[in-house]
């Protein structure tokens, strides 16, 4: 499995789980389905970006930092759209980004080297 696909799948799964954790907040339980879908899409976008970064840059630390940054930015945008719950959305989103950043650096096949012909 290549790093982009790994980032995409992991981002989707963790995003969905992260979204599902909204069930513990009774005030938003009614919108749970929408939260899960939105969180999954956010995870997919973040995972793809982080996977693409991991294909280009081989550094565990930079991968985690990039994951944190992408997770933070996307979660911040979502929180802005929700007009609230900043802490509840940004904190888990950022940590999920870091986890995906770690995983794509450690695992997943690097980009195949293409043979050049003249």
């Amino acid at each position: 499995m290549n790093k982009i696909l790994l980032g995409l799948l992991l981002g989707a799964v963790l995003g969905a789980i992260d979204g599902a954790s909204a069930w513990f907040t009774p005030a938003v339980r009614a919108q749970l389905a929408g939260i899960i879908i939105g969180s999954t899409i956010k995870g997919v976008i973040a995972g793809m970006a982080i996977g693409f970064f991991a294909r280009k840059v081989h550094s565990l630390l930079l991968g985690i930092v990039f994951g944190l940054a992408v997770g933070f930015v996307l979660a911040f945008i979502v929180a802005q759209m929700q007009h609230g719950y900043y802490l509840e959305i940004i904190l888990p989103g950022s940590i999920v980004g870091m986890i995906v950043g770690y995983a794509t650096q450690r695992y997943g096949a690097p980009a195949a080297v293409q043979a050049t012909t003249r």
């Binding site: 513990f24 565990l60 985690i64 802490l87 509840e88 904190l91 940590i95 986890i99 770690y102």
Partner: protein
């Protein structure tokens, strides 16, 4: 048996190391041994074994062979600048590669020690001094005896003191000069030549491993502070077991265990407790465990605060 000089190959304009027989030859046995050493090296074409370029006789009748001039440091000096244990173990794995190749070619080194390993300027690792090598399977016909032991047994020790390696060797009870104390296997120390097989080199590699891990041979127990690390200790103990049947059967098996240790995987030499398994698992996956724990802790805290 010989002296190694730095020389200039004027035809190819390169530096070479020249090993020259520098002692009087009473009956030509030593000359045959040096030629045989060159032949052993010639059959071992491997990046971790110093390549031989030429063999011949000087104008004054002394036998020589020319080999690659290695610019670097002996392993015992080199590791003073390598404090990291994983880096040292990676060096060890490269030594294992070379020795495993020699064993596959039917050759035992029989004098593996830090002084006989060179680390080049670009990090290349070369196993040197195959003067005591024993050929287990000799496929090619040779004018020299396949095993030099007969020659060694009859050679007065004084004649063997020409090189540093020869000075470091020891004499066993019945006059056989083989190996270096601390690094040679018990069967080798007894002069039990018929019993020698690749497990004798594995003992030497085990002693080398202890040296790389702790800076001392296993016999020097007082300095073994690293013995807290049970897995590495068990690998060393298994490799240097007094009974050859209790050692690793192949160099590859030893290297595999060291490699597993480096990767944070279980090693065959040590049966770990549940606590050790958990500790090893944590060391191997520290970052993801901490990240997931941070996520869960954060989630719990958010839950607690949101319900207030």
């Amino acid at each position: 048996m010989g002296v190694v000089y730095a020389a200039e190959d004027q035809m190819l304009e390169r530096r070479v190391a020249l090993k020259v027989l520098d002692v009087p030859t009473l009956n030509g046995d030593l000359a045959l041994r040096l030629k045989r050493e060159a032949r052993v090296l010639a059959r071992l074409e491997h990046p971790g074994i110093v390549p031989v370029h030429d063999v011949g006789t000087l104008a004054d009748g002394r036998v020589f062979y020319a080999m690659k001039f290695v610019e670097g440091q002996r392993l015992d000096k080199h590791i003073e600048s390598v404090p990291s244990l994983p880096d040292r173990l990676r060096l060890f794995l490269r030594i294992c590669d070379a020795v495993a190749f020699a064993h596959a070619c039917g050759v035992l080194h029989r004098d593996l020690k830090p002084a006989n390993v060179m680390v080049g300027a670009f990090g290349e690792v070369l196993v040197m001094d195959w003067g005591l090598a024993k050929i287990l399977r000799d496929s090619a016909p040779s004018e020299a005896p396949a095993d030099p032991d007969a020659a060694i047994v009859q050679t007065p020790n004084a004649l063997l003191s020409g090189s540093e390696a020869a000075q470091a060797t020891a004499i066993t009870g019945h006059g056989t000069v083989l190996g270096t104390p601390g690094y040679m296997s018990p069967e080798q120390a007894r002069g039990d030549i018929a019993q020698l097989d690749q497990r004798s080199d594995i003992f030497s590699l085990g002693a080398l491993l202890c040296f790389l891990a702790a800076g001392s041979t296993p016999q020097d127990a007082s300095r073994l502070a690293w013995r807290k690390d049970k897995a590495l200790d068990a690998i060393c103990a298994k490799a240097t077991a007094n009974n050859p049947s209790e050692r690793y059967s192949t160099v590859s098996a030893l290297a595999s265990d060291v490699s597993s240790y480096l990767d944070g995987l279980p090693v065959t030499a040590h049966r770990e407790t549940i606590l050790e398994t958990v500790t090893r698992f944590y060391r191997r996956y520290t970052v993801p465990i901490l990240l997931i724990a941070a996520y869960l802790v954060m989630r719990i805290l958010l839950l607690l605060f949101s319900h207030r």
